[in-house]
Amino acid sequence: MDVILLQLLNGLDKGGAYALIALGLTIIFGTLGVVNFAHGALFMLGAFCAVSVQALLTISKKVKDESIKFFDAYKEIPYLEAWWGDTGATIIDYAVPISILIAIPLMLLIGLGMERGLIRYFYKRPHAEQILVTFGLAIVVQELIKAQFGANPIPTPAPEVIAGSANVGLWVGLGESVVYPWWRLIYLAFAGVVIALAFAFLNLTTYGMVVRAGMADRETVGLLGINIQRRFTIVFGMAAVIAGLAGVMYTPILPPDYHMGMDFLVLSFVVVVVGGMGSLGGAVLAGFMLGILQSFASMNEVKSILPGIDQIIIYLIAVVILLVRPRGLLGRKGVMES
């Protein structure tokens, strides 16, 4: 029972990341009809927002280390700490939450710039060319980040207060044996909130209603005198923000490096396909489902029966779904079925 709960949490966690990235991918596909291979790069850029914020906050000056008497030793103290003492240290400690505030406008700008600068020229081009150009863009972004930050993962820890683990077992009456890191629980909650917000925006506001109408029939909405293109651009920006936030929040779980975007991209595409291209609910459902399945497949009991299943389970499911039900779990009939 303990093990199952633990794996469930693990799966929900991973599924949260998949769902967030896949949600953005599928929104972009549903609105603009563009297959965006650079979406993983947006996820990575979000993560590196957190890295940059942390680097900015910890710009340091050299001061003499008084504790060492035998020779002149110097240590680096961040300016923030030097100016404000403990308050400064706390600010540095909260680098990751702070970077969320910075990531939102930044990722929105990046998303809008990307759509206006590149993607819009590819609406009418075949999917293969969209894949290729965004693949090229992903390489460029990835290499720029590598040139700037180096090839090694950069640790960006969560704030001290929540560094420990929560006693999840106690909450559900399983005793003290099940503990789980606080940050991962927060990530799960965060993913839930972001997904809920995205759905609320699209389903409960007039703006979102028009966007959905545009997804269903772009031309009619355009003929009604609505600038649907501009709304779609903004929706693209939103998708970029969602991917970026997923990246920011993921940094304490996995120290970011330049190829994390590519790693997640392949999986997220699989998630989108399993959920159904252009289906928002499908992306979320498939994201969590595949996350959970993957974490259960990596249990030793399962692996001893089917060795290597944890490595391929997601792809295997994608293959089966594509062959049996090509429109995906919740895909609309007739959308990209061939």
Partner: protein, 381 residues
């Protein structure tokens, strides 16, 4: 007989290609690329790109998992070296056959879908193979270390007929060692054969069928053709080309690693084909050669070397140039590749071959324009 049914232009093209391929060491000499290791790469990745082009350029299916076949070919060839003989012929044949069978399996499933779904299916299969090669299949693939030759390998045939020497044996073609120029010429001959087969395919009714699938598959189906066997055949042929390239990689350097199957490696052959020109015969080889050449040149540069090569300039100019170009060489070579690739997809979707065609057309039109104007002038006089 061999050339029956080929037009005069095709014969010329093939003759020109053969001469160019055989004279590659000479042609590459002015640009400083005439060492065998690099030339071997040109030939091997040329074969890989030709094969990819049969699937993508002709049939219109964008596979994002082609490196899997390359990897399988490498593994199969190395196993042949380990188990039977260091002669390269059986290894190459075995590599091609195994990857052909592998391609038949994957193609049979993947080709049930087209468009982006096909891309994702192939990607999924390639990632599966890659992950499995790293984990469960370690007895076959030797995991992260990669499959290597060892002194105590079986090598049944070799032990029967050839006297064993100290140290690791090297790959050979009936005694001729497959390193350096002999290795290159072996790859080169196979490249020429591969090119010839691709040429024949492109000009055959079968090739016409493949192009019809690319242009309008729905219409083909309505006309009563079952397109899937044709697409599957193209897929298998293309996989066999990749397997050939993979086994040649093992021939020139007998080890095989799983990283050859990673999807970024599949992306590389896509880059090559697009850069040169998908759907053309020479384009993919051109793209493969260019990418491998510039990879080799640029990734060996660093800021120091760069400063040296601009040392004739005044200091501030030198610094500025190093600052501007620096990020694109050495480690940053992929950045340059990405930018060039994006530019090609945006402005020249037909690749370099389309660029050449455009320049050619422009000259011709200008020539005609001049001629027309002269005629007008004469008429006026």
């Amino acid at each position: 007989m061999m050339f029956a049914g080929l037009s005069r232009n095709d014969k010329l093209l093939f003759a020109g290609f053969t001469i160019a391929a055989l004279a590659m060491p000479l042609l590459a000499w002015p640009v400083g690329a005439n060492y065998p290791d690099l030339l071997q790469k040109f030939a091997i990745y040329g074969i890989f790109a030709i094969g990819f082009n049969i699937l993508f350029g002709l049939t219109g299916y964008l596979s994002f998992g082609h490196a899997a076949f390359l990897g399988v070919g490498s593994y199969a060839a190395v196993w042949m070296f380990k188990g039977v003989t260091m002669n390269v012929i059986p290894a190459v044949i075995f590599g091609v056959m195994v990857s052909g069978m592998f391609a038949a399996l994957i193609g049979f499933v993947s080709l049930r879908r087209s468009g982006i779904y096909f891309s994702i299916l192939t990607l999924a299969f390639a990632q599966m193979s890659y992950n499995l090669a790293y984990s469960v299949l370690t007895p076959i693939t030797n995991g992260e270390t990669g499959l290597q030759l060892r002194q105590d390998d079986a090598r049944i045939l070799d032990r029967m007929f050839v006297e064993q020497s100290e140290g690791l044996p090297s790959t050979n073609l009936f005694g001729l060692e497959m390193s350096g120029y002999p290795g290159f010429y072996f790859c080169c001959v196979l490249l020429i054969i591969a090119f010839f087969i691709a040429l024949r395919i492109q000009r055959s009714p079968f090739g016409m069928m493949l192009r019809a699938i690319k242009t309008n598959q729905v219409r083909m189906n309505y006309t009563g053709f079952n397109t899937r066997p044709y697409a599957l055949t193209a897929f298998i042929i293309s996989g066999m080309y990749a397997g050939l390239a993979g086994s040649l990689l093992a021939v020139t350097d007998p080890l095989a690693g799983a990283e050859r199957m990673q999807w970024t490696a599949s992306g590389e052959v896509v880059l090559m084909t697009i850069l040169g020109g998908a759907g053309t015969l020479v384009g993919p080889i051109l793209g493969a050669g260019l990418i491998k050449y510039f990879e080799n040149i640029f990734s060996s540069y660093n800021d120091g070397l760069l400063a040296e090569s601009f040392s004739f300039l005044p200091d501030f100019l030198n610094d500025a140039l190093v600052f501007v170009i620096g990020p694109f060489v050495g480690e940053g070579w992929s950045l340059l590749l990405g930018i060039v690739f994006m530019a090609i997809v945006i402005f020249l979707p037909g690749g370099l071959m389309e660029g050449l065609a455009r320049i050619h057309g422009w000259y011709r039109r200008r020539g005609q324009g001049d001629a027309g104007r002269n005629v007008a002038k004469q008429a006026a006089e």
